[in-house]
């Protein structure tokens, strides 16, 4: 399931829903991303997340479908917020349920790695009166490439 929304989400309820009523599930793995108040040595007052409505949902659905193609999964969930977010706020949640833990761990990591380098979101960090677009990290691209090159695949 894909949810792109401005409002916050309830981590516990969302993660619980992945195994609710399904006793085939042997494990649930979840990752949530939060807004930090410090980037390097720079304090962040708040951040604004922009996205490309339409393409975002399409792109996340493709990433989710690819995870189901690669691993035997019961359910998957991707929630990504946009708009103004304060330090400590939740930005993103990816969660996966599966019969066994290995698929859950791997698919969860795959979802966040792919999301970070493919889903059309852009972070604008605001400090004092200044705002600065966040620069993409090579390490994120490398994390995604490792899946494409196959050395993390089952």
């Amino acid at each position: 399931m894909i949810k792109v929304q401005q409002k916050d989400f309830n981590y516990s309820l969302e993660v619980a829903a992945l195994s609710e009523g399904n006793h085939d599930v042997g494990g649930v793995c979840a990752f949530s991303g939060l807004v930090r108040d410090l980037v390097g040595d720079k304090h962040i007052d708040y951040m604004t997340l922009e996205h490309y409505p339409g393409m975002t949902e399409k792109c996340l659905a493709e990433i989710e479908a690819e995870a189901h193609h690669r691993w035997p999964l019961e359910k998957t969930l991707i929630i990504h917020r946009y708009g103004r977010l304060e330090p400590g706020d939740q930005i993103v949640l990816v969660a996966v349920s599966s019969v066994h833990r290995e698929a859950a761990f791997d698919a969860c990591r795959f979802l966040i790695d792919f999301l970070k380098t493919n889903a059309p979101f852009w972070k604008l960090e605001c400090t004092g009166g200044d705002s600065k677009w966040v620069t993409a990290k090579d390490t994120d691209t490398q994390a995604c490439d490792r899946w494409l090159n196959g050395d993390k695949k089952e």
């Binding site: 922009e50 490309y52 399409k58 970070k116 059309p120 852009w122 677009w133 994120d140």
Partner: protein, 83 residues
């Protein structure tokens, strides 16, 4: 054709989206970029370093050589930074 700009690409061009009539000799994203670059300083600045530009045609990531037509939706943006 509908063109969308995001993040600092939009800031530099000072425009979120626009409708253009595709010139006859423009058949790829790269040719569209070259044409846009001549539209003004904002465009020239946004497209100064093409290694920093990512493109989507009809909401799919594509390379600069991708073919385009009048009915396509093209978006230009920097490398994504979500998650």
């Amino acid at each position: 054709m509908k063109i969308l700009y995001f993040s600092w690409v939009r800031d530099r061009i000072d425009l979120g989206n626009e409708e253009i009539v595709l010139p006859e000799n423009v058949t790829t994203v790269e040719q569209l970029v070259n044409w846009l670059q001549s539209k003004g300083d904002g465009y020239a600045s946004a497209f100064a370093d093409l290694s920093m530009i990512r493109v989507a045609v009809n909401q799919e990531h594509v390379k600069l050589g991708h073919p385009i037509g009048e009915n396509d939706e093209v978006a230009f943006f920097p490398p994504v930074t979500g998650g």
